[in-house]
Amino acid sequence: MPVWNEKYEKMERDELAQVQLERLQQTLIRVYRRVSYYHNLFNKIEFDPHEVSTLDDLKKIPYTTKDTLRLAYPYDMFAVPLREVVRMQSTSGTTGQPLIVGYTKNDIEHWTDLTARVLSAGGVTKDDIVQICFPYGLFTGGLGFHYGAERIGGSVIPSSESDIENQVIIMKDYRTSALVCAPTYAALICDELEEKGISPAELSVSRGLFGAEPWSEAFRGEIEESLSISATDNYGITEIIGPGISFECEQKSGLHISEDHFIPEIIDPDMGDILGPGEKGELVLTTITKEAYPLIRYRTGDLTSLRVEECGCGRSFVKMDRVFERIDDMIIFNGQNIFPSQFEQILREVIGKTPNFQLVVSKENNLDKMEIQVEVSGDIFFDEMGKLTDLEHHIMNEIENRLDFLPKVKLVEPRTVERSMKGRRVIDRRYT
């Protein structure tokens, strides 16, 4: 597989540390001078950015949370005047108020380079026809990958939010060789192919680069088989830059973090303590090249762990485990912490593959209630009712056994559960 930027991606660890220290010192001085939040914070904790002499000094600074960013809405976290900003993107606001993230010309250059790294590591070259089915708008997925794919020199199809029928037609007729989208969207494409009776042999697609939501190894297996592709994971969040923070190489054994742009840490999400290599906790990121929207020790809300190890691909960047749980996807259900990924696992075991499903949480008489809507393949509805009820009971029992509560299970026909491109699986009606 090609390595987009050998100089940095394969840099010796001690040289990388030098680059990180230089960039961290510059970033801390810039945010101290230009972002009032950090200026006041550093003064309050008596942190002098001019005294920073090692990377460890970063640990003296408190974490930045999403709440801080919300309070600074719209522009108070910007470190440059707006006339230097050439692009704005925004978070979706699925968990609250949206945020505006600005980019300078250099930020866009770096971001382009970062998504080019992701695509190269996933095997994309200038000879590829790259179909990008992420929304091209305020969401970072579309434009972020678009620039990177163009920089590599691929033929880019910005098919964006085109409807699924159209996506499949494009995929077949344009001879798409690399598919860039969310994993649930890839599943949707698979369904559509099946429905239209198109076999993978009729397609040219050989690579899938999936991100923007958690997806399991089992799902990787399924999607690789149904589309006969090699699928790699990538990770990014808008507040930090968008896609391009970390990515899988051909080894598919963790995601390399572009450490020449971001310094990662793992912390205990409850206590805030820094955790060691291999320990699972919340990912905290510091940007060290961002000009317009630099963030220091930002709590991503994503759970993972870090591993410094030699990788077969030759990259020296630290690897993070794939993210399966987002802290903000967690449901507190009658006092119990539940993650949608737990349901995914149970459903996969019962049904044999990962179905599309949705958790609808509501309140009745001050008690939380949950309904799980699970899509099952159409043919089961033509069988006798008994089978349906059996399956429902089977799922209910498994959930009761493992999670210690009895939800309502509703089996529905394919594509009746609304699929969002960002794949949120919880509808919470308790607070509306």
């Binding site: 030098q18 230089e22 510059q26 001085i29 810039r30 250059e109």
Partner: protein
């Protein structure tokens, strides 16, 4: 080749360089951009060992050179072309060049010395024409050539240049810089260039750092610096 980590240096009692980290790779031309009094010269003088009060680390080819004496540092392969040229005015061009060879000068090495001087006269033919003239009687441009040549006589791997363009006509500056760029091309010489003439520095460098009141606030490849509106506005007066 050179790695500076968290260097602090004092100019008299003032901290002129505060926690500066930077690196220069072999064969690179790296520039340091900054206004008057931002700490540029103090930083260069610290590298060559001319500033007594410093802390932090300066690694040259993975060896710590912080707190070594200038003569040792020059022998290891770093040479400084100081601000204002600092020639020995009452001495001839030839003698100024010979003084530059002191790290290896000995009677036995006379052949090496004359080969070096011949090479310098190829680089800057005008110095050959004036080799018996007193340095103080040369024009500004010729003096700058002599100052650079004197530094090259010590056979450096890393050449530090402090404001070489000051007071010179653009055409002469362009010639001198062309010679430096060619030198990098031909001999792999590494160059750390401190310049107030930012436009010029950005034309010849591969990478650069921007220093403000003793701190590095930006760094990047040449394109990244020319993309940065703040750099353009502050140092080139344009956006």
């Amino acid at each position: 080749m050179l790695k500076i980590r968290s260097l602090r240096s004092y100019y008299e009692s003032m901290c002129a360089v505060k926690s500066v980290s930077l690196h220069i790779g072999k064969g690179e031309i790296v520039t340091l951009i900054g206004a008057n009094g931002s700490g540029k010269s103090t930083l260069l003088n610290s590298i060559i060992g001319l500033v007594a009060k410093t802390s932090g680390s300066i690694l040259f080819e993975d060896k710590e050179i912080h707190a070594l004496s200038p003569s040792v540092i020059v022998k290891m392969g770093i040479a400084l072309v100081p601000e204002g040229r600092q020639l020995f005015s009452p001495m001839t061009v030839y003698d100024n060049l010979v003084l530059g060879s002191y790290p290896y000068y000995s009677i036995k090495n006379r052949q090496l010395l004359s080969r070096k001087i011949e090479w310098i006269f190829e680089l800057f033919p005008v110095l050959g024409e004036r080799k018996n003239q007193l340095a103080g009687t040369l024009s500004g441009g010729e003096q700058q050539m002599l100052s650079i040549s004197r530094a090259l006589m010590s056979d450096p791997k890393l050449l530090l240049l402090d404001e070489p363009s000051v007071g010179l006509a653009p055409k002469i500056i362009a010639n001198i810089f062309k010679t430096l760029v060619d030198l990098r091309q031909d001999t792999g010489l590494t160059i750390f260039l401190v310049e107030q003439n930012v436009g010029l520095a950005l034309e010849v460098c591969d990478r650069g750092y921007v220093i403000e009141t003793g701190q590095i606030i930006h760094s990047g490849e040449r394109e990244e610096l020319t993309n940065n509106k703040e750099v353009l506005r502050a140092y080139l007066g344009r956006e």
